[in-house]
């Protein structure tokens, strides 16, 4: 039964931010399902609500209205504490600005999600090194973020996203701060996570190249999904 259930299921999601005396409607009733192992690209102009959508998919933010189900679990029923655990276990984030902790080495950055889940130190270190090798950074394990190039930083971020072996990787403009060649290698890496490891990958992007690796493209405008199409269709 469980496998028949979509990994992510959004129904009638709205999000309203107060801005002074006015209200900003970031999402105006979004319905979206994402299946396991899919690569979905969410595209749209700035202000279309795609980042807000990603925050809700990743349990970073709660919707104003509607129901968000992650693996069948309604997110609005979870406490802040449970949401944190859920983020740690099931979701890996990749950000446009990498968002690594500047004071920690690449390995310690990758270990961080495991620290918060209470993994034993020895397992953590071994897994962090394995993941860094997997993303091609075997010789950068002990480097701090400011000693790494943009592409290397994004690889560390991807390794960190994989630390707790989550089911879903949410990538917000992962190639936005990279040149096109480096961006392409990052996209290949993300694609391999789906094809080789069966991860579900959601890409929020402006980048048409990024959309090329997607199985499905969701286009948004003004807080609504205006188009969903399978890639190549």
């Amino acid at each position: 039964m469980k496998s028949a259930m979509p990994l992510l299921d959004l129904r009638g999601i709205t999000k309203v931010y107060p801005l002074g005396k006015t209200a900003v409607h970031a999402l105006r009733g979004v319905d979206l399902t994402i299946e396991r192992g899919e690569i979905v690209a969410v595209m749209g102009p700035s202000g279309s609500g795609k980042s807000t959508l990603m925050h809700i998919l990743g349990a970073l933010d709660t919707p104003t209205g509607g129901v968000a189900l992650l693996d069948g679990q309604p997110l609005h029923e979870l406490s802040e504490h449970q949401l944190a655990t859920l983020r740690g276990r099931k979701v890996g984030f990749v950000f446009q600005t990498f968002n690594l902790i500047p004071t920690l080495s690449a390995q310690r950055n990758v270990e961080l999600p495991m620290v918060f889940l209470g993994a034993p130190k020895r397992n953590r270190a071994a897994r962090a090194r394995d993941l860094l090798i997997k993303v091609g950074l075997a010789d950068r394990v002990h480097h701090r973020p400011n000693e790494l190039s943009g592409g290397e930083r994004q690889r560390v971020a991807i390794a960190r996203a994989l630390a707790n072996d989550p089911e879903i990787i949410l990538a917000d403009e992962p190639t936005g701060n990279l040149d096109s060649e480096t961006g392409a290698t990052i996209l290949t890496l993300l694609q391999s996570l789906s094809t080789a490891d069966g991860k579900t990958v959601v890409l929020v992007t402006h980048d048409p190249d990024a959309a090329c690796i997607a199985d499905r493209i969701v286009r948004m405008r003004d807080g609504r999904v205006i188009e969903e199409m399978a890639h190549g269709s």
Binding site: L60, A84, V115, F116
Partner: protein, 416 residues
């Protein structure tokens, strides 16, 4: 997990090295002051107690004039009557010695001009037991070469202060004439010793109202009886109890019985003196430590300021940690450990410096007052200080840490 959080906090402290050190300096100045003042206070208390114990012994008590304890200090004139022989027979008393004081008309020898010097001089009657049983009481009463102190059965002898010996033109082996009450005969006393000028009893030990000077004539206690009759001019009495007896019990009983016999005395035991000293020194120490505590408070505000700035600076970092699974309690712990660590480092540095300052101060005070001041390194003070310093840091960091923990993830991630 706590070790991981400590590592995270530590890397953050090291990353902001200068600011962290400045914060730590703010803490350790306060800790140094508190530790130094309390240690100096403890050292002085122990020194005074040691001095008192040296003279007094824990098996000994003192009979002071009653006014002494009522007013809290001696007026220097209070004297009381005492039957020393009876006191020695009281159950539990091993030995007792007393000091009587009078002013007497004294006549010495003829000077170079052939005139005999006369005058009124203070006379102290000392029980020979003071020399044999309570040597520390009169200090090292050093005599000039050729002299000696009087023995137990002697009466017609005297020991003179250096000044009085000079003024009366008397040397060891010569005599002085001393007049007591009108109805008692004058006595001719042989001078058997002259006190060396540097070894006056007032320089040493515990004298309780006796302030002998080079002007004083010391005679045996029994000689006072011959000159003035039964003692009603006692300045102080020392009583040693029999081994194994409860000093406080014997002292209390002696006080009651002596008062019933008309002696206006107050029994003062070592523990009375010790607790009185303790009260004074701990009050002074607490007052000084309280003032020093204000600088600790300032240090605490410094930690709070640093932590608050740190939270603002690391807002995005907090968002990242929460995005990768950190719970509010994790964030709170990391920031509390960070501020607590700064407090603890301040505590360690401050304690070491404080102990150093107190040793230095003890040496200086010792040199000024010519005593050996004990340097007290109290383990409980050190443990309390370190725990207190960590707590100070943690409490100061509590509010910033709570703010950090409560930051909404999305807002924190957007922070630039």
């Amino acid at each position: 997990m706590v070790r991981d959080f400590m590592a995270l906090a530590g890397s953050s402290i090291l990353h902001r090295r200068i600011r962290s050190w400045l914060t730590v300096i703010g803490v350790f100045i306060g800790i140094t002051a508190v530790v130094a003042l309390i240690s100096i206070g403890l050292g002085l208390e122990r020194t005074v107690n040691d001095e008192v114990a040296k003279v007094f012994g824990v098996d000994t008590f003192l009979l002071a004039p009653r006014q002494m304890s009522n007013s809290g200090r001696s007026n220097g004139l209070a004297q009381y009557m005492l039957d020393l022989e009876w006191l020695r027979t009281v159950d539990g008393v091993a030995t007792a010695a007393a000091v009587r004081q009078r002013t007497a008309f004294v006549e010495g020898q003829a000077g170079p001009d052939g005139r005999v010097t006369q005058g009124f001089l203070p006379v102290l009657g000392l029980s020979p037991e003071l020399v044999t049983s309570f040597p520390a009481f009169i200090g090292s009463l050093e005599l000039e070469p050729g002299g000696r102190l009087f023995g137990e059965d002697e009466t017609l002898v005297a020991v003179l202060g250096k000044d009085v010996a000079t003024r009366l033109h008397v040397e060891v082996g010569e005599t002085i004439v001393i007049a007591g009450d009108g109805d008692k005969p004058e006595l001719t006393l042989t001078v058997i010793g002259i006190v060396a000028p540097t070894a006056e009893p007032s320089q040493q030990g515990f004298t309780s109202g006796i302030s002998p000077s080079g002007d004083t004539i010391y005679v045996p206690y029994g000689t006072m009886d011959l000159l003035w009759g039964p003692a009603n001019d006692v300045l102080t009495t020392l009583v040693r109890t029999e081994p194994g007896r409860d000093v406080d019990e014997v002292a209390a009983r002696v006080q009651v019985e002596l008062r019933a016999r008309g002696s206006e005395v107050t029994a003062v035991t070592y523990s009375d003196i010790s607790s009185a000293i303790g009260t004074v020194t701990s009050t002074v120490s607490a007052f000084l430590a309280g003032i020093a505590g204000i600088s600790l408070l300032v240090g605490g505000v410094g930690v709070m300021n640093t932590m608050y700035t740190s939270v603002l600076e690391r807002t995005k970092e907090i968002g990242i940690m929460k995005a990768v699974g950190a719970k509010n309690s994790h964030i709170l712990s990391i920031f509390l450990i960070e501020s607590g660590l700064m407090g603890l480092v301040g505590g360690i540095v401050g304690t070491l410096l404080g102990l150093g300052v107190s040793s230095l101060a003890s040496a200086v005070i010792g040199r000024i007052f010519d005593v050996r001041v004990a340097v007290v390194v109290s383990p409980s003070l050190i443990v309390a200080t370190l725990a207190g310093a960590f707590a100070l840091g943690a409490v100061a960091g509590l509010w910033p840490a709570w703010r950090a923990a409560k930051l909404p993830v999305v807002d924190a991630l957007r922070y630039e």
